[in-house]
């Protein structure tokens, strides 16, 4: 069997991606996760004197905590199977990647397992976040120095 035939057969067997259904699920569940987060922003503004500019941090931390708990209990994986990007794109997905890798690493001990595996999946997000932020800030600095834009 050559590669073309293999490709044909693979295309026949693989079920078609339910694009519309996936998009709807991602929208509804992702929107819901953000709405829950938004409720926490009100909570922190009213009870802990955060302002609208600083409230992002405690909110993200709270969502990370909830996702960590659900991951440990094995519930997050079940939600993620349905939600797709709806639970992967919010910060809860980042938390899930870190926490599940940490728990799995436990079998190899806390230093070699938990410590070194923790960012196995989430590491790329940190790398490209930091690298892109570095270049964007550098470009802005250069543009400001040249007098093209202002801070």
């Amino acid at each position: 069997m050559d590669q073309q035939q293999y490709q044909q057969i693979e295309d026949q067997i693989t079920p078609p991606t339910p694009y519309v259904k996936n998009v709807l699920k991602a929208f509804l569940i992702g929107g819901l996760v953000c709405t829950i987060g938004h409720a926490f922003t009100y909570f922190y503004i009213i009870f802990f004197n955060f302002t609208e500019t600083t409230v992002g941090n405690p909110t993200a931390a709270t969502m990370v905590f909830i996702a960590a708990l659900l991951t440990g209990l094995g519930i997050y994986r079940k939600i993620a199977q349905v939600a797709g990007a709806g639970t992967a794109v919010p910060v809860t997905g980042f938390s899930n990647a870190v926490v599940s890798a940490a728990i799995e690493g436990k079998t190899e001990g806390f230093v070699l397992g938990v410590g070194s595996n923790m960012f196995k999946m989430a590491g790329s997000v940190i790398l490209f976040g930091v690298a892109s932020a570095f270049f964007v800030a550098l470009i802005k600095l250069i543009l400001v120095t040249m007098g093209v834009v202002e801070w």
Partner: protein, 122 residues
């Protein structure tokens, strides 16, 4: 008014997740690639100065998706660069965004202490 506030959080948060889903389904990117693309997009949008208006509009709808990680890193770096020049680009990076990462590390460690591995990804 408060209803509209929550509506925009839902709408913008949902739309960002839909972009992620389309990258995975239509673009055939792996989740790792998708999230990396979103983070880099967040940084670039932030550099153009368009991310803060999105946060003003949608609140957690813009701060909860992973794009806000790129935004927070960039804003930290830019704010310090304004004060200290090119040195600030490095030193300011994690100034704004510490909570997501530190929370994930702390809770990841605690979860590893408490929960037993199940042999497959949680």
């Amino acid at each position: 008014m408060i209803f509209l506030d929550f509506f925009f959080a839902f709408l913008i948060g949902g739309i960002i997740c839909v972009i992620g889903q389309l990258l995975m389904d239509v673009g055939k990117f792996t989740p790792g690639h998708t999230l990396s693309i979103l983070v880099v997009s967040g940084s670039i949008i932030s550099g153009l100065g368009w991310y803060q208006p999105l946060i003003d509009l949608a609140g957690a709808g813009a701060t909860i998706p992973i794009t806000s990680f790129g935004n927070a890193l960039t804003q930290g770096a830019i704010a310090e660069a304004e004060k200290h020049g090119w040195v600030g680009v490095l030193t300011g990076m994690f100034e704004v965004t510490s909570s997501g990462i530190s929370a994930a590390i702390v809770f990841g460690f605690l979860a590893a202490l408490i929960f037993k591995p199940k042999g497959k990804a949680n």
